[in-house]
């Protein structure tokens, strides 16, 4: 989101009338402002509050099982499951797209259910089982959904793919993959900027129709 918004340049500004210039500014400030660091954080950093605060707010012990491996972690309450997976456990397969629940790139399974890990606090999954894209394959044998995405070219740049695949597996398990229309609706939480949607749907349909265990 940040990079997309900061790309907006007022290159045609010279041609704008006053009224349209105002409208343009209204919209572009709105967009660019989202990319700015929140003022309270900047202020906190300037005053060195972060270190002082860290003494007061203790880390919390969190026990989780990720892809079958148990972990005993100590996490800050503000750390999201996404950051915990990527930064503490080096499981970088799960992607950070928007960090605000809007794209689905961070989709993982918690106790078998798909969720957005960017809006899940790590402390809130204590005692739960998490599956990420790294946990789908059995050794060298890819999961049928991974195979199918390869076969159907279900991606271009690949950034959204881990989230798409985690969501696709859940979509079939939930019983929401009975038609292309239903798949489209139940995969709508995963955005693909490359627009690989038709191939993603074919990939899911093949797995569903193949009747393999997912």
């Amino acid at each position: 989101m940040t990079s997309k918004n900061s790309c907006i340049e007022p290159e045609n500004e010279g041609n704008l009338t006053d009224a349209t210039r105002r409208d343009f500014l209204k919209q572009s400030t709105l967009l660019t402002a989202i990319a700015l660091t929140p003022a309270p954080l900047v202020k906190a950093a300037e005053n060195g509050w972060d270190e002082k605060i860290a003494d007061v707010y203790e880390k919390v012990p969190v026990n989780i099982e990720v892809n079958g491996v148990k972990h005993q972690l100590s996490v800050e309450p503000r750390a999201t499951l996404l950051d915990l997976l990527r930064e503490q456990l080096d499981l970088t397969g799960t992607k950070k797209g928007c960090d605000y629940g809007q794209c689905g790139a961070c989709t993982v399974h918690v106790d078998g259910h798909r969720v957005n890990s960017c809006l899940t606090l790590g402390v809130m999954v204590n005692g739960k089982k998490i599956t990420t894209i790294e946990g789908l394959a059995k050794g060298d044998q890819l999961h049928p959904m991974q195979e199918s995405f390869l076969k159907h070219d279900g991606f271009q740049c690949g950034y959204c793919t881990p989230g798409q695949i985690m969501s696709a597996v859940a979509c079939i398990r939930e019983g929401h993959a009975n038609s292309a229309t239903e798949i489209r609706e139940y995969m709508s939480g995963n955005i693909c900027r490359c627009g690989a949607y038709p191939n993603i749907i074919s990939a899911i349909q093949e797995v569903k129709e193949g009747g393999q265990e997912v």
Binding site: L30, A39, D50, A54, Y57, D99, V115, N116, M124, G189
Partner: protein, 326 residues
Amino acid sequence: MKQFQYVHPSTQQSVLDAINKPGTKIIAGGTNLVDLMKRGVTAPDKLVDINRLPLKGITATKTGLHIGALALNSVVSEDNLVVEKQPLLSMALKSGASPQLRNMATVGGNMMQRTRCTYFYDITMPCNKREPGSGCGALEGFNRMHAIFGASPQCIAVHPSDMCVGLAALDAVVVIAGRKGERRIPFTGFHRLAEDHPETDNHLAKDELIIGVEIPDNNFAKHSYYLKVRDRQSYAFALVSVAAALDIDNGTIRQARLAMGGVAHKPWRLFDAEKALIGKPVSEESFKQAAQIAMQGAKAYQYNAFKLKLAPASITEALKHASGLV
């Protein structure tokens, strides 16, 4: 995100004790709160995770359905009792957010979610809801998503929920626990208009907890429809949405319930239009008349005038679907 303390009490009493202190906030699914905390829109010192409370149940009572505040949006939308007795609620829920988000979002959290007004979200912009007295950025700004009913010169934001539009139409009741015991308020009286206090979205006191909602049994199951109009077909907030429920006897409307989303600071119940439908035949003509009545008092801003046409067309369309005309 600012640092905060985290507690997860196991009893309702300890939750009520904890939230009584300033700077404290409840967290349920986290899908709205964590988002707002990341952006610095809200910065609590302490989060009280209520997920250990036994508030997930969906049960049939003598008079209706009781749904616990921690029931997940995905679970409620697919629950057999809900689908059978209150399909309108199921439809409204399924049209909201994404499957992943619905797997996290709770009934209580959905009711308490804040507006999606971009000026509210952007802490560099004025917003009376976020920072009372700072002004309303949307009033003269980019107000395409904003209210056409009951807006205040201080705030023209809309309540973003779909579920709440369904519950408002279905005469639901909110069950609230406080330190002095339980109280119940009608769903239509839970959220409030912005008036002079846009910072306050609803009538829940700071030291109260939503424990559930009750939906009285009705005769609307056969003729219900939730229509949501948005910029893309799925995974987007409503420009306008309509919850329509009819009780039809031999082609004549016996009772009607109508509510709209995306048009006001609260789920907008259309009482006058409902009354006008009673005794009328099921026909496009009756529906258009009701839609016209519903639009009385609507007022648009620079960029949302399209809603003045979209809203009545949506009401008519939703009623056609509910009645089986289409």
